[in-house]
């Protein structure tokens, strides 16, 4: 009889069901019962929490801010990460591996440490402001702590290493000879990027951007620390709603909205990519 290797999957399956699916289920189910505050929930199934969410401009603006800072962080991470990934991918010397190792290591340094570094540099009485005021460029300190710019920077700090790694692996799959061919047949470096590298890396870049976006949408630590209690993204608000306001089912609703928003945006992107692929603007 053939060995049933698939049974080996069973422990991980049980693990996932118990810890992830069941906890999500509790939250999603809870989101359909009215929140009575102080950890109390109603006993009839209805949409009241969702009605509250979609009729309250504070909640809606939180969703909008979350999407906005995540999209901006994704955009800038990709813009900043692409040249770095490109250079490392095209480097012939052993420096490429050293640089890549640097990216990996800095990616896995816990975000708390990294964000506190940012705070020390960028806060109102931080190093940067002391320097700028010292040489007389600014009179009043400018800070990114506690505003959306800060949250975008924090999210970028969180995702940039992943972005570089993802883009690196995408660019590596594009043969260098294609760049040579474009150049020798008359394309400047800029035109080569536009006509060859970009269309060929677009599917990989889209997938990478989605991953960065998803990470940003769910990021709590960097958003909470750099938001300084003044910028509310959904993860920050969920934590606050649950731990400080003790509104469990409202927190469940917020989590459900976040989950659905992320799903919808991902599905839409995949759909758009399919359309591009069908039009042969990018390769499969």
């Amino acid at each position: 009889m053939q060995a049933r290797w698939e049974y080996l999957l069973l422990p991980s399956f049980v693990f996932v069901v118990l810890l992830i699916v069941s906890s999500q289920y509790v939250f999603l189910k809870g989101s359909f019962y009215e929140d009575l505050g102080l950890g109390q929930i109603g006993d009839t199934f209805d949409w009241v929490n969702y009605n509250k969410f979609f009729s309250d401009t504070f909640y809606l603006s939180t969703l909008w801010i979350t999407v906005k800072v995540s999209a901006l962080a994704t955009l800038f991470t990709m813009l900043l990460g692409f040249p770095v990934a490109y250079l490392i991918a095209r480097m012939r010397s052993q420096w490429a591996m050293i640089l890549l190792a640097g990216v990996v290591v800095s990616t896995f340094v816990t975000i708390v440490i990294k964000v506190f570094g940012l705070i020390i540099i960028f806060s109102a009485d931080g190093l940067l402001n002391k320097f700028l005021m010292g040489i007389g460029i600014v009179d009043t300190p400018y800070t990114i702590i506690g505003n959306q710019t800060g949250v975008v920077v924090g999210l970028m700090h969180f995702t940039l290493g992943f972005g570089v790694l993802l883009l690196y692996s995408v660019i590596q799959t594009i043969p260098r000879s294609l760049e040579d061919a474009a150049q020798i047949h008359g394309a400047s470096r800029w035109r080569m990027h536009l006509r060859v590298l970009l269309p060929l890396s677009l599917p990989g870049v889209t997938v990478g951007a989605l991953m960065i976006f998803n990470m940003s949408m769910g990021a709590f630590t960097s958003a909470a620390l750099l938001g300084g209690g003044r910028v509310f993204t959904l993860p920050v608000l969920i934590q606050r709603t649950m731990m400080m306001e003790i509104k469990y089912s409202m927190a469940g609703t917020l989590a459900a909205v976040l989950l659905i928003a992320v799903l919808l945006i991902n599905l839409l992107s995949v759909f758009l990519l399919r359309r591009l692929r069908a039009a042969r603007l990018v390769i499969a």
């Binding site: 000879s177 040579d180 061919a181 150049q183 020798i184 047949h185 008359g186 394309a187 006509r195 042969r280």
Partner: protein
Amino acid sequence: MSRVQLSNVVKKFGDFTALHELDLDIVEGEFLTLLGPSGCGKTTTLRLIAGFIQPTRGTILLGETDVTGVAPQHREIGMVFQDYALFPHMTIEENIAFGLKERKYEKSKIDARVRELLKLIRLPDAAERYPSEVSGGQQQRIAVARAVAYPPRVLLMDEPLGALDLKLREAMQFELRRIQQELKITTVYVTHDQTEAMNMSDRIVVMNHGLIEQLGGAEEIYNHPKTKFVADFVGQINLLDAAIVGEDGDWQVAETMATRVKVPRHAEVAQKSAVAVGIRPELLKALPVDASVNGMNSIPGKVKGKTFAGNLVKIFIAVGGDHEVVVEGRPQEWFGEPGDAVQVAWQPQDAIVLTS
């Protein structure tokens, strides 16, 4: 008039010198092949002409223009790559039109030129398809069409047939040569395959360790190699260590494997010089020990082994103890059997005296 001229070109990569003081004149309209083993500098030379890398010293002229330091896209060169490097997201038509579009040709002109090129490469109906939808040999021809579209001042080819199987490779050799002659385009071709080089080229540059060993036509290089390296790399050759010991009329006398043989007179070689005597396998004969040799040179040997390749037989004979020579002939000839004592014989004029 020379189309491409490299003068005193040196290329170093860190401490490694890939090219030493290279001088090369490529004539208008010729098919020139850079031939040599990997690491000999042939691809470096090609990439220098293309402009992908810059020489450490020296100048490169295209026609009358000094292009040293000029970026590849401004050199008006076409190139065929080893992996073809066709753009997978563009149709065959768009691939061929790539250089024309970069040069901002009018749409109608581009269309006409692409149609003409598709006809030239015998793929008139492939315009709308993608590179992944055609065979390797067809991709190869598309890469050639893209490279000759504008048309370029020089066509460079970097081992373009390396990825094809033997039969297709032979067919493509003639196809490339046909296209080159039809367009009368100056071509620099890089290969490590001597048969390919000899089949296609007007002239061959044999390179080794970043130096030109010899430059000439296929016959000249095969029949009159200047160095042991060329003799050995282009075709197969038996090299016997020898010393010049005297003269015999029009011949010089050399001693090899304890036997005196007559060799063609070599202008630069004085008596007692250590030389190598080279004889191609097809010019050697294996004869029974008691056969008369009629003025041929002969040295005694012992048959070691034999291989049969259909149209020819190769026989391996140990001479002077354990030095092995290869004799090549028709299957119907006499060769002896493994273990037999034989004479290895050749006409004196068929040997080549090599000093380096």
